[in-house]
């Protein structure tokens, strides 16, 4: 394990993307978001993506100089064309447009199409919450998940996020894949030589499996909560795949078909009255009695918040595989290696 400070990783990441032909502002934005994912404890969306992004610049899938543009806007809606540049600026522009539309229409909704990987959906829904709105976002992605009661790898991990602003308390941050787990999380188990809990994945026949390598053997991820999570997953296919026109299931042509919505609270209720309710909800949850075997009741977003506190202080841990891949790309571009603590 190698521990590195967040700022150091941001410096490193920015340099790499710049060296690969990315304008500085985009390189900085993307790097901050990758490192933010690590800080939040979501390592699957962190700096381990750097070599992947660079590789995709090499293959031409990423056009690092391209900037997103507003393709169309009408009423409270809009569509952002990501032009196959980095996905993060496109998704951010979609939420920015949604927030702007919500100022006039009460609810604003924008899609982002032709985008590469957008990272954590929470980065965008939180922007809405910072602007006194409720953020709702989701993104379709390539297949790795089986339908409920099925065994074919047809659906994306299809994450969904809601961010709800609070007053004095922490806001709610819901942000997760509609599968139980993701390929990225399985990697973590693989690296540690650990078995995956029952229910997360299945073999190619659809049997329970605990093998973190099961995807390479034709297995698949399962939707969370069975039929219910499956339903939500198909909503993401519909909004992020069919509505964006990027295709559905294993014929999804995009990388991340993205849907962002901002709900302007003031159109429904005075903001302070709303946050009073959310504060009360948060206090009630955190103040409630834990079930046997647990010591506390959390709210959605607490795991991320705690990781940020801990990792901001202690640094971000990178395993040997990730560390090695970062050093390799550093050598290629003659960038100084990240300095470990």
């Amino acid at each position: 394990m190698h521990r590195v400070k967040a700022v150091e990783l941001q410096r490193f990441s920015t340099k790499i993307f710049e060296a690969a032909g990315t304008p500085s502002d985009i390189a900085m934005t993307v790097s901050r978001m990758l490192v933010r994912a690590n800080l939040c404890g979501v390592d699957s969306h962190g700096v381990r993506r750097i070599p992947e992004y660079v590789e995709r610049i090499d293959t031409g899938q990423y056009k690092p100089k391209e900037r997103p543009k507003i393709l169309r806007q009408k009423g409270g809606t809009g569509i952002i064309d990501g032009r196959w540049g980095f996905g993060q600026p496109a998704a951010m522009m979609a939420m920015e447009l949604a927030i702007k539309k919500a100022r006039t229409h009460g609810v604003g909704t924008a899609l982002a199409i032709r985008t590469n990987h957008i990272g954590r959906v929470a980065d965008y829904t939180e922007l809405a919450a910072e602007n006194r709105m409720i953020g709702f976002g989701l993104t379709n992605c390539g297949p790795g998940v089986a339908p409920w009661q099925g065994r074919d790898r047809l659906l994306g991990t299809n994450p969904i996020s809601f961010a709800v602003p609070a007053g004095k308390e922490d806001g709610l941050l819901v942000d997760y894949a509609t599968s139980v787990s993701s390929a990225g999380k399985l990697e973590v188990f693989k690296t540690k030589g650990k078995e995956v809990p029952i229910g997360w994945v299945q073999d190619k026949a659809g049997n329970d499996s605990t093998d973190p390598n099961i995807l390479a053997k034709g297995g698949s991820l399962r939707t969370f909560g069975g039929y219910k999570g499956y339903g939500l997953n198909l909503v993401v296919e519909s909004l992020g795949g069919a509505l964006t026109g990027e295709g559905v299931a294993d014929e999804f042509k995009g990388q991340n078909g993205t849907f962002m919505q901002a709900i302007n609270i003031e159109f429904f209720i005075p903001f302070r009255e709303f946050t009073k309710g959310v504060d009360q909800l948060v206090k009630k949850m955190r103040g409630s009695s834990p079930a046997v075997g647990y010591s506390e009741v959390l709210i959605p977003g607490d795991p991320e918040r705690r990781a940020v506190v801990e990792r901001s202080a202690q640094g971000i841990e990178l395993n040997d595989v990730v560390w090695g891949s970062l050093k390799k790309v550093a050598t290629r571009f003659q960038i100084e290696d990240p300095v470990a603590l």
Copy 2:
């Protein structure tokens, strides 16, 4: 068991509500929706509610003559005041307003406040799908569910629904509680003398339980999919409780704090192109390989569709408890008992 035809139950239900002081049009609308729930296999929201509604008319909680009104509208949003009449017309008016707003603004969103029980959320989201839009709806309700890792009964079963129109195929209908189960479903287990599956409920300390009477003993329902379903449940508290101003968790003052949204597909993509995508998604799911132990892969809404086919032909089965309660209310109002098949 007593089997009764749907039309006969509608006749019966309408007569009862009329006798209890409800205008005929409202009585008919509500009755059709209750029976529709039975047809869809969702007995918890079916005619077993008739005696409950009548009781609430007696106590003054239901004002059967009151009609919902538009309280406020602005941009793509609106608020319906249910005036404590039957909840169904209020929720329907909210979705109707959302659809109307979506014609101009692309996305329409309406709340319904001061409503009684609105029934199945799917009844409203389907209205959006019938109008070539994507329907999204949810409703907050009184507490029976514990927070994730908690044991206090603080949250509602808080259902959520999405309806997605298709072209030649059946559309997607996602409609479920964000708890694994509901009090109504436990009743069914109780009546049959069966144990509840592990994971659905817990005792008052938070231990696993299979007792269908556990709620009466201080136990609670659990959220579906653990932390993930818990997050979605709190989104419903936020939109259906805080945004409506009806209160959150165990201080929720309403019966059903309701949020309805219609997404106008044509603002984003030609309708036929969208439905081509959804058709493809549906065909891919249904045509995919079942996992071992299963014979087919379903889409969300299939269980309801199948129940409708079967129950339209065979009649709706009512157990002795429900049957007895319907006869009792029939006697009170001197209405002819439902005729069993």
